[in-house]
Amino acid sequence: MLFNSFEFLIFFPVVTLIYFTIPDRIKWIWLLITSYFFYMNWHAEYALLMAACTVVTFVCSHLINGTKEPKKRKAALWGGVVFNIGLLAYFKYTGFLLDIIERGSDLLGLGVTMPKVSILLPVGISFYIFQALSYMIDVYKGRVKPEKNLFRYALFVSFFPQLVAGPIERSGRLLKQVTAPHKFDWERARQGLLIMMLGFFEKVVIADRACMYVDAIYGNWVDASGWQIALATVVFAVQDLCDFAGYSYIAIGSAKILGIDLMTNFRQPYFAHSVQNFWARWHISLSTWFRDYIYFPLGAGRGGKLKQARNLMIVYTVSGLWHGAALKYVAWGMLNGALQVIEGLLPPPKREPKYPRLNLLAHILWTDFLILITMLIFRAGSLSTALYMLLKIPTEWSIEPYASGFGLAQAVCTAVCFAILFAIEMIHEKRKTLTEMTDRLPGAARFMLYLAAVLAIIVFGVWGPGYSAQAFIYFQF
């Protein structure tokens, strides 16, 4: 079930209404049932995978906790890790691995032909596996005590608002929250609804509309001019943010209504002053996961700059693979790692800048420029396509533009939405929330603002079957 679907608009109010009316002791059971229902709406049988991941990590955590022998503890930990990573690898990377083997054999002149496999990737598998692994590792490290009740733990893994696209939560924060009963709090609900509204605005109004232009240009990049590719890349950067952050906001808002706080996942990433700073603001729950469970165990910055560079490259290569099973994702991850390594090697400024604000702006623009290059690689069809597209930007800047079908009205609508998004990001950057801002308004103005915002999302959002004027032009009989 997608957040931007009719089903969710019915599902969520029903779940919430029942959650706050049933007795406290069965509230978590209700959430568990509805979370599995939410997931099974897609491919019911794939809920078994989630259940398997849950049981294995639950058992392994108890095995880890049940013994003091380091070898047994380690064996249980690795058992759980191998099972889960194996599961992820099978569903996400089988095709990629076979392709790599075939390409490698071609390079060596062996000519091995690997079978072409098509495995349906279970929705959210990367998210819930990482969440379950973090729990098991935390138990191993002694950061959390293992949960005694399998079903309570199952709710932690499957909690529906953050199940399919994060934020990837830690058991220390979420486990107690989801299993504790919550009373309805109108103020929380109002804040949650506002956050959800922002999420829907970013997802259905901005991301899904921007997607039309990006798809048109990236799908026909050969015919597109340099400036169109450059513009589409900028639009994609916003689309990617709004798509992901929008989804996170809906997750955070809906959890908040239920009385549960999820972590912030995006913090104005395009206001970052360095690539390192960008990754502290982008998909925070994943970045911190990699930091805590890969980068730190590898030694982080200990042992000199070379080791730190190695560790960064490992983390970002893995991050690239996590994002997708293709060489371009690996390249994208490595480029992000390399940029941070270079940043780390640069000497710090010798004196304070004369114009600190201008200096900051220059850093932000430079960082965004670098991030845009990585975004182009991320969005392009393949690594070679990305390289051709990069080459096309300066060399074919002024050729006849490709007719993208993105009309003036659509462009104006998108530009206005981008401006609104910029204003919202500015508000957030100043550590203020939309609730705080709107609370300053008189009641009637707030009433109208909320109404206008919801109506704007409904009218300008890309949802429903999609109206095609062409389909309605009377040409048949």
Binding site: W186, F447, L455, I458, Y467, S468, F472, F477
Partner: protein, 332 residues
């Protein structure tokens, strides 16, 4: 939660619903209102209903039937309408006005209900029916589940029409005005195409036969005479053979079959009387066909002449507007 908060929430939700209803109306295409509005708002009812494809929509002019015979009729035919949809249109139409005769164009007898390219045209009629059990049944019977939402809740489709409305690029789906009682008037000739007649008959079952049988049964149940009509105009041999074959179905289910390709006295020359190669009639062709059908209805069904009767004054007003419109569209 305080009473004030609850009141504010209720008020806000009420305002939202009102705004959505207004938007729903504002964003919809107005083709359906122009085509079917008069039918649903009429107080006098109609003795004859014309149903089927756009060939029927362009071939019969209810206002000319009124002018020449005083027969009250409505043209409910619509673009790309398969017979399964015609069945639903007639069923819902009969809930509003019970006719004496239902004339069904059989040109689409070879098209199945699930031909997806015909789906958008179904909006024109379905969008005009308020959400009800009848509408739900019609949608369920003629559309796959994936399409139900946009037909039962058209706003899910039309909310994204804002671009078309803002830029003023919305195009009409039918050239129809409320005073035309559902028919369409389009000018032009199609002289570059040729036509030849065949009386051969298609062998075997066709996708529309079952719908025709159900239509006939439904009409009999309601005391309405079903008339299956093959309208003249351009048609390939295959299409003609399939229309000719409807005679057997009509006999089987006790309906009348009117094959106007062979009608004596109806001289339709597709090159002069159609505006396109698809067999859509121009005003000349429509006048000839309407006159023929009017005479046939008078002779075979003895329908009442309502001209001059109390309560039918608006028909005369509509006639004036129709004639002025026809003169504009077809000045010769």
């Amino acid at each position: 939660m305080s009473k004030k908060t609850i009141f504010s929430i209720v008020l806000w939700l009420a305002a939202l619903i009102c705004c959505l209803l207004l938007l729903d109306r504002a964003m919809r295409r107005d083709d359906g209102e122009r085509k079917y509005g008069e039918f649903f708002s009429s107080e006098t009812g109609f003795d004859v209903l014309f149903l089927g494809t756009s060939r029927m929509m362009d071939s019969v002019q209810p206002m000319e039937l009124w002018r020449d015979y005083g027969i009250t009729s409505y043209n409910l035919a619509n673009s790309s309408e398969v017979l399964d949809v015609t069945e639903q249109v007639l069923r819902i139409a009969m809930e509003h006005h019970m006719p004496k005769v239902a004339m069904i164009d059989v040109f689409y007898v070879h098209h199945a209900v699930d031909e997806a390219w015909t789906y958008p045209y179904r909006h024109m009629f379905y969008d005009e029916i308020p959400l009800s059990r009848s509408k739900f049944e019609a949608v369920r019977a003629t559309l796959p589940k994936s399409e139900w939402t946009e037909f039962l809740m058209p706003f899910s489709l039309y909310h994204s029409r804002w671009e078309e409305l803002i830029t003023g690029t919305a195009e009409r789906m039918v050239d129809c005005e409320p005073y035309m009682m559902g028919s369409e008037l389009r000018a032009g000739y199609s002289s570059e195409h040729t036509f030849s007649r065949t009386k051969k008959v298609h062998e075997g079952e066709l996708p529309g036969y079952d719908a025709l049988r159900r239509i006939a049964a439904m009409c009999r149940e309601q005391g309405v005479t079903p008339v299956f009509v093959a309208l003249p105009g351009y048609a390939t041999w295959e299409e003609q053979k399939m229309m000719n074959a409807v005679e057997h179905v009509a006999q089987e289910c006790g309906a009348v079959f009117l094959n106007l390709f062979d009608a004596e006295g109806l001289e339709i020359d597709p090159q002069r009387d159609c505006y396109d190669y698809l067999g859509h009639m121009n005003p000349d062709g429509a006048s000839k066909t309407t006159a023929y059908i009017g005479a046939w209805l008078r002779e075979n069904h003895g329908l009442a002449d309502y001209r001059g009767q109390a309560g039918f004054a608006h028909w005369e007003e509509n006639l004036k507007e129709y004639e002025a419109h026809r003169a504009r569209v077809w000045p010769q």
